[in-house]
């Protein structure tokens, strides 16, 4: 990550960083329903609308399903729309999310990653957004408050690109990012205005050119529309790269596009992460490097579209790959692990790859835990030659388990 200092620095939470990013992007409509730990985002935005510093219509809805529906209505008349949610609220939006992506409405949403009930929990993991991986939304996972703000601005430009026209979900780890305070650089409004063009869409309701929107198709055409959606998501990769580069030119910060690799060039053991745990993992890598262990790290920034080629390029010739999942797809393994293995399967060499399930329901993941993961990878390479080893492991389980 390239950084450059500027004068507008403020000490804010991740939620507040998103709210400031949204204001800079000048949306026309915000429709949202509050839910912990997203609440501060929508509180700040409603204050901004009230004090006039954000010229937008804030729609107070009675549920997340309505929040998504109202955002779609706004997008359908050519308005730039934003919403935010978390966990159960995201699931309550599920029907509308498929509708929005199928209707090619580039709505931007912030999701505060939070565990799913039951057991009830307000703390973080990735089970909410990962369960929506197939909803046709672009998904980015950010590491800190600065990236949260910057990606909020980038999100509108990527989503609204004529080649993409796909809704965009920005994921922030609940509490770890949403509620902790960091120093964040606030970009100039004039620079954001020059970076982010006015939203134009071919799918716009208007009296001059009436459109029939969201029509049904017979089996003769339905598959083509689904393919078209898929193609737009794949094409988004190039746009993601070019928008990130352009952002870097203007604001002095860029994030590596689809993924960010740390010490991977000569690494023997690479850990794959998403979201805020990457910050902890960077420290673990620094510690291991100082002890002469060739540890590397890959932060998957985007999970849809999936950075398969980038992953193969970054981790092509390492000895072992670990994937840290704040998720279990019950009855199989962590979802990110499945996706990573599928990308690596296209390589001629077979990697030792191990899934580390961690941090469910807000369970802490320490630097020591991550150093332990690298140790596991190292052992698996030595032991794995003549003995089978557990492919899926659980970090920081409080009790003993069989197998």
């Amino acid at each position: 990550m390239k950084t450059q200092m500027s004068k507008q620095k403020v000490f804010i939470s991740g939620d507040e960083a998103v709210a400031l990013g949204v204001r800079l992007a000048r949306p026309h409509v915000i429709s949202a329903y509050p839910i912990t730990p997203q609440t501060i985002v929508v509180e700040r935005l409603s204050e901004m609308v009230e004090d006039g510093s954000l010229k937008a219509r804030y729609i107070h809805v009675e549920s997340e399903h309505s929040a998504m529906s109202a955002a779609m209505g706004a997008s359908a008349v050519g308005a730039r729309a934003f919403t935010a949610t978390s966990s159960q609220g995201l699931l309550y939006m599920a029907e509308g999310m498929h509708y929005a992506s199928g209707g090619r409405m580039p709505i931007v949403m912030m999701n505060a990653n939070r565990s799913l009930a039951l057991p009830w929990s307000i703390f973080g993991d990735h089970r909410d957004s990962l369960s929506m991986l197939d909803s046709g939304w672009i998904q980015v996972y950010v590491e800190d408050a600065q990236e949260a703000l910057d990606m909020t601005i980038q999100a509108f430009r990527i989503a609204e690109d004529a080649a993409v026209l796909t809704p965009f979900m920005i994921n922030l780890d609940g509490f770890i990012l949403t509620h902790t305070y960091e120093i964040v650089d606030i970009p100039d409004q004039s620079k954001v205005d020059s970076f982010l063009p006015v939203f134009k869409t071919p799918n716009k309701m208007s009296l001059e050119k009436p459109k029939s929107m969201g029509f049904s198709t017979s089996p003769a055409d339905n598959m083509e529309f689904k393919y078209q959606q898929h193609k737009a998501m794949l094409d988004a990769k190039d746009i993601i790269h070019s928008v990130d580069n352009k952002f870097g030119e203007i604001f002095g910060r860029s994030y590596g596009g689809m993924l960010d690799s740390y010490y991977c060039e000569d690494a023997d053991y690479v850990l794959v992460t998403a979201g805020s745990v990457t910050g902890t993992a960077r420290i673990a890598v620094d510690n291991l490097r100082s002890r002469g262990i060739k540890a590397g790290l890959i932060k998957l920034r985007y999970l849809r579209p999936f950075p398969d080629e980038e992953l193969r390029a970054a981790a092509g010739d390492v000895k072992a790959i670990g994937v840290l999942d704040k998720d279990i797809s019950f009855g199989y393994e962590g979802t990110i692990f499945t996706n990573v293995n599928s990308a690596l399967a296209h390589l001629s060499i077979r990697h030792v790859s191990i899934n580390f399930i961690a941090g469910l329901g807000g369970r802490d993941i320490s630097i020591k835990d991550i150093e332990g993961i690298y140790q596991d990878l190292e052992e698996a390479v030595t032991v794995g030659k003549d003995k089978s080893f557990a492919k899926v492991r659980y970090v920081n389980m409080g009790v003993e388990i069989d197998g």
């Binding site: 199928g102 209707g103 090619r104 026209l165 071919p202 799918n203 050119k209 009436p210 459109k211 029939s212 929107m213 969201g214 029509f215 049904s216 198709t217 017979s218 055409d221 083509e224 529309f225 393919y227 078209q228 959606q229 193609k231």
Partner: protein, 102 residues
């Protein structure tokens, strides 16, 4: 009869010939929607009183008023549900098997 116009549908050759997402200029119907009908409603004009109960109740808007204060069906959109026949107080509508109707 008030009836949407069917416009010619050119089957796209390439994926880029499709509209971006399921939206297109309004009033552009590309196909009739009556392929699944088994029975079609047939009105006996001599029995019909022009009360327009069927006209009001047809869920597809497939019934029109005629100049002589009777009704007619738009068979391109009638789905054959039989609601009109059921609701007509004068038994002026009968549901006839599609292949037996002329």
């Amino acid at each position: 009869m008030l009836k949407p116009e069917i416009k010619n549908y050119v089957t796209p050759k390439h994926i880029r010939d499709y509209p971006t997402g399921p939206s297109f200029e309004a009033g552009h119907l590309v196909s009739i929607n009556a392929g699944w009908r088994t029975f079609k409603p047939v009105v006996d004009i001599n029995v019909c009183t022009g009360c327009y109960q069927c006209y009001l109740l047809c869920s597809d808007g497939a019934i029109s008023k005629t100049d002589n204060k009777k009704i007619e069906f738009d068979y391109s959109f009638c789905k054959g549900c039989g609601v009109c026949a059921h609701e007509c107080s004068f038994n002026a509508i009968s549901m006839v098997k599609e292949e037996l109707a002329k």
